[in-house]
Symmetry: none
Subunit: 206 residues, 4 copies
């Protein structure tokens, strides 16, 4: 049987949180495949038995961490949207959103990249990501639709997906390439590329 424990007591909640935290740090640091359960519990300061009373197996832990992290990502990116002029998007609005994405991803870009890759071989991981991607793409599309009148776009759904991909992969690269190229330069050009999908006077030429 071995029912997975749902923590109720204070101590219990602490333990579960400690496992999640330790795992997240190790995953980000040494990679998911490079981290075993013994290491996780050692870092968390709990026993292997505890691990398996809170998580059915290692993958359940990963899914839970990923789910949480993608939730945080989503909220970080889209929370302060009141400052954005939704239907009169300018270059700064776009940069603002992209910078939010960077903020959201910068905690553990390696972790995100690795889980992202696991989508190809793991249906459960993929499901978590699909849910998240749909939310993000829907938001982007909403912005595009609101600026339809001045858009050089014929297929907003495809465009939203393309934009989402571009931003996501630029974040990965920026965080990864590190000092080789300045993050701001990438952000600027990314924002520029997206902004140029909008019609605007040629004086805009940067």
């Amino acid at each position: 049987m071995s029912l997975v424990r749902t923590p109720k007591q204070q101590r219990s909640i602490q333990t579960k949180k400690r496992i999640i935290k330790a795992a997240f740090h190790l995953y980000a640091q040494k990679g998911i495949h490079g981290t075993n359960s013994k290491e996780i519990v050692a870092k968390a300061g709990v026993s292997i038995g505890s691990f398996y009373s809170y998580f059915k197996n290692k993958k359940t832990l990963l899914l839970e961490i990923l789910d949480d992290y993608l939730d945080r990502t989503y909220l970080t990116v889209w929370k302060d949207m009141e400052s954005v002029t939704i239907n009169e998007l300018d270059r700064n609005d776009i940069k603002f959103i992209i910078e939010n994405v960077f903020k959201a991803y910068e905690i553990a870009p390696t972790f995100l990249m690795q889980t992202h890759a696991l989508r190809y071989s793991d249906a459960d991981i993929n499901r978590v990501y699909e849910r998240e991607r749909n939310r993000e793409v829907t938001q982007i599309r909403y912005l595009l639709e609101n600026n339809k009148h001045r858009m050089r776009i014929s297929d907003p759904e495809a465009a939203a997906i393309v934009i989402h991909n571009a931003v996501e992969s630029v974040v990965h690269t920026a965080k990864f390439l590190g000092p080789k190229i300045d993050e701001m330069r990438l952000i600027n050009e990314l924002a520029n590329m997206i902004y140029n999908l909008l019609l605007h006077g040629s004086q805009d030429k940067k």
Copy 2:
């Protein structure tokens, strides 16, 4: 001792190639982590002993496969460039290049995605990818520089990286999302986005 053999005889070269081919197919089909060496040699029809006289270890094999594949990718993408009007790039030229990228990736997108993810935890894999990325980015940048006069770009290096990322990640998504969204729609919007970095008459609005 047990030096790794550098095959000179015809038969040896054949054997090595058979191993590489078998491994590549299995990696593409079942994933890198899901394929063990026994399976590779079984499919290649050689012994495990042979494997280790041609490859120092499994990673060496992976690096060699990856290196080959990225070479093929590069050539596929950039080979027929004489048909492209280098310094008067139009939408079709861009689509042509993107379609080449799709062709190059479609043999084993999963393999590429997985190795791509390994960059984050494996310096050797990353080195192979960096070499490749530099070549690709250089090419893109060359095109950008040749169209500088009509570019809405101030930082061609950053722009080249951003474009490279966007294309790469859209390929992954297209190959992965499968029938959910038509590949051509993504290609069109991606080409559109890149094309709009160029100045052109407003009649262009698609």
Copy 3:
């Protein structure tokens, strides 16, 4: 410290009984090895802590359950013996006793079979069974001695053991083979075999 509690209060007795009942059901249903302590306490609706205040360990529980069950078995088999013509045993008397054995075993034949097997590797289990076997064999022997005058038997002790074995193993088989062969056919032939140890007129030939 952690002495095992001897329940005196009403509630305590109830708790202990609930544990025994839950364990017995699970053992019968999923096998002894397939049942863990978490499942037992979950089914009993008590905590694992309670379990270990009533039972020194899992084996103690098993011994207690087994002891109880063998007691019930014994009583079921031999209770209604007043209807049996002790010293003029006929085929029906024998069938009557065998049917009682079947009744006694049918609650949990799997449980009995499994504990029976544990005799070979566990001295404590064996001890419980030996006590029981001796009681049963003594009873059988008593019947044999009472019919000595018409017995084709020279060694009543050995005969009693043989009969006991035969009955026990036929029960196991009957309960186990299930619908493949009708239980009554086995009972009839078993009774027949035992009955033929008695001298009787040849008109008896069934």
Copy 4:
């Protein structure tokens, strides 16, 4: 993948045999559940890796050992039947067969008893046993049918099963009870019981 190796070379065959032998001894000595794979390979003097190249898993090993052992059992019991007067069975013929059963079982009665018990919880084990039981019961039934004219039996199929059970369980008991009661006494009474299923002159009374 991990295909199970089919031994071809001499060394390979030796290794597999050594594993089987070691496992069999430990199973007989410490019980099946009480023996782990590390112990088996230690006793066999091979590595754990070898174990799992010859056997898919621990259960496969058990099934193989059981299958072999039941084969040997069958042959031992029924091989010298030319000395038996098939259709004029007398007490000695019956004793002869029973003694063969004892010989066959005496190598590892504990092992047989334990696997026998596993039939109740493991369908694969049961399948091996069913095959064997059918062979044995068929043989017994063949003898019964050949002596039909003088049989006090109306249902030879059921009788064959009952006899098979009786003999099997008496062997277990005999081997297990050890010095407490002499084996020959049990054999005699068992033979007697079976013999009395046959009609014969009352001077037979032993």
